[in-house]
């Protein structure tokens, strides 16, 4: 090994140690565990793909797969829409713009468990804020957390609230590098704000939109905390994500089956990560 390689290794060694010990080994351990029968207080043994065969016949597993794929599709789409509105607003010249940007970060900065608790209270059937407000427009009361579609909607809204700021600031960074002359010129040509958005902002922002989209999708695939608090995966398993489903088996002490569920989620995330690396090719990795 040359000098440079040795020097570099010294500097990155601590990082490599931590990552191997606490991320890589556990992930490999989970992969191996998925091929084992590993239930607390019972002898462990290698059983090949038996756990996966059991998965393929498990209705509840397929229900969680469906949820895990549909949930990101809907919530990430909404996050993009709201994130765009917020990003464009934060990019204007405003009085107290710094303060407004700080305020926009708040939903992202507070712990997910706490935002889930706030939404849980807003959605209460009897004295929640949502039903109270809906009464004025003649709707309701809606049994939000008691019905499967209601629970799904609640989760989407809670997730959109908490992660839209992240999307907004990624998009904001993209907006800031669009040259203002383009807008000036379009203004001179008499283009209104909507035209300018459609013909300048959207096309120039598309690479950044894709980055935000994929970051968020991978994150939404592994959603856990808001479900744990808001619905517990219910009613009737309708909002059980793969993370929640796997956790449930860990809790029961069935580490083999829980690992198999985790591995399936891992595969989904990997597919998206590969897309990410491909999409990242447009100039992203120019260190």
């Amino acid at each position: 090994m040359n000098n440079k390689g040795r020097d570099a290794l010294l500097f990155i060694l601590p990082l490599i140690c931590f990552v191997i010990l606490f991320i890589l080994i556990p992930v490999i351990g989970t992969l191996l565990n998925s091929l084992r029968q590993d239930v607390s207080f019972m002898p462990k043994r290698f059983i090949g793909f038996t756990n996966f065969v059991r998965l393929s016949a498990d209705q509840k597993f397929w229900q969680s797969v469906l949820f895990t794929l549909v949930f990101p599709a809907i919530s990430v789409f909404l996050e993009m829409v709201f994130g765009m509105v917020i990003a464009i607003t934060l990019n204007q010249t405003l009085k107290l713009r710094g303060l407004l940007r700080g305020i926009a970060l708040i939903p992202w900065a507070i712990p997910g468990v706490i935002s889930a608790r706030i939404w849980q209270m807003i959605y209460r059937y009897d004295y929640g804020l949502a039903n109270y407000l809906l009464k004025f427009v003649g709707i309701g009361p809606v049994n939000w957390l008691g019905s499967s579609s209601g629970a799904f909607l609640c989760l989407v809204m809670a997730d959109v609230w908490r992660t839209t700021p992240f999307v907004a600031i990624i998009l904001l960074a993209g907006l800031q590098v669009i040259p203002t002359e383009l807008y000036e010129q379009a203004k001179v040509d008499g283009a209104g704000p909507i035209k300018r958005f459609l013909y300048i902002t959207l096309p120039l922002l598309s690479p950044i939109i894709i980055v935000a989209l994929i970051f968020r999708t991978i994150d939404a695939l592994r959603v856990f905390d808001i479900i744990y608090v808001l619905t517990g995966g219910g009613p009737g398993g309708a909002t059980t994500s793969l993370s929640i489903y796997g956790y449930r088996f860990y809790l029961l002490g069935d580490f083999g089956y829980g690992s198999a569920i985790s591995v399936m989620l891992f595969i989904f995330a990997l597919i998206f990560a590969l897309i990410f690396i491909k999409a990242g090719k447009f100039g992203r990795l120019s260190v």
């Binding site: 440079k4 390689g5 010294l10 500097f11 990082l15 931590f18 606490f22 991320i23 556990p26 992930v27 351990g29 989970t30 565990n33 709201f82 917020i86 607003t89 405003l94 710094g98 407004l100 940007r101 700080g102 305020i103 926009a104 970060l105 708040i106 939903p107 900065a109 507070i110 712990p111 468990v113 935002s115 608790r117 939404w119 209270m121 807003i122 004295y127 929640g128 804020l129 992240f166 600031i169 990624i170 904001l172 960074a173 209104g192 935000a212 592994r222 856990f224 744990y228 608090v229 993370s243 829980g258 569920i261 985790s262 989620l265 995330a269 990560a273 690396i277 990795l285 120019s286 260190v287």
Partner: protein, 273 residues
């Protein structure tokens, strides 16, 4: 015409941002300050600080324990994670070693693993070490888990510092470690501090690891405490939950308001370009 249309759009945008971001937070505050959480249907609202006094004074609720654990765990792990990420970021930014790109992509890919794929095995690992329900049992995984984000942020700060600075120091006979400490870090200090703040928020908010790796108030963090909060008779004590939430949100809200510029820069440096 166009000008007025624009002004209206701008104002509606600002109002949307304010409503969107603040209504749930205000709702948390209002419930935490009201005597009973059902005032919307049961008549009048009585403001009180009783929930706050209770949550702080009643030791069997353990709220102050959760808060202390969270601050210790998030504080130590964000500090160490930033230090380790700074070392690695320096190497990637300054030493043209082979496989830099592969290294960065691998680290980035690691951060995309779902936590559930790590925690099952990590739980067993920590049990064997006897570190379940201990500070190191949480801090060490948190350091590892926040390293990828930390590395990308530190790298983006380092790559903005002109190389001439290092070269001048190298001519003076300084080795790479001395250059990092004496030349680079002082210049990158703002980046260093904002990385610590970002990673603090990151660890402060983490839930799944803390849920699996802790068992009681000796090391449970705020998210775990608030998620597992139970009333005596099944009904959730909303006043307590919301006052505990409000107090716990204060540090991160203050960080968000005071350091919005640094946070936004930190989060976006890696994504743009």
């Amino acid at each position: 015409m166009v000008e007025r249309e624009e002004a209206v759009l701008k104002k509606s945008g600002v109002i949307f941002v304010l409503f969107f971001s603040l209504i749930p937070v205000f709702w948390m505050l209002i419930i935490s300050l009201s005597q009973s959480p059902d005032f919307l249907v049961n008549g009048e609202m009585v403001l009180t600080l009783k929930n706050y006094f209770d949550i702080i004074a009643r030791h069997n609720l353990h709220f102050l324990d959760f808060l202390k654990n969270s601050i210790i765990v998030a504080g130590i792990s964000s500090l160490f994670s930033t230090l380790i990420a700074a070392l690695a970021g320096y190497a990637v930014s300054r030493i043209r070693f082979r496989g830099r790109m592969v290294f960065m992509i691998l680290v980035l890919t690691l951060s995309m693993f779902p936590q559930i794929c790590i925690i099952g095995y990590l739980y067993k690992f920590m049990s064997r070490l006897g570190w379940i329900n201990s500070y190191p049992g949480l801090i060490l995984p948190y350091i590892a888990w926040s390293l990828p984000l930390g590395l990308w942020i530190m790298l983006s700060y380092f790559s903005q510092i002109p190389r001439e600075l290092d070269e001048a120091a190298m001519v003076d006979g300084a080795n790479r470690f001395q250059i990092l400490i004496r030349v680079i870090l002082p210049v990158a200090l703002p980046g260093f501090l904002s990385t610590i703040l970002l990673l603090f928020i990151f660890s402060f908010n983490e839930f799944l690891f803390a849920l699996m790796l802790t068992t009681d108030f000796h090391s449970q963090t705020v998210p775990v405490g608030i998620a597992l909060f139970q009333g005596l008779h099944g009904e959730l004590p909303w006043g307590y939950i919301m006052s505990a939430s409000t107090i716990s949100c204060l540090p991160v809200i203050i960080i968000a308001l005071l350091f919005q510029r640094q946070i936004i820069q930190g989060l976006t440096r890696g994504a743009v370009k």
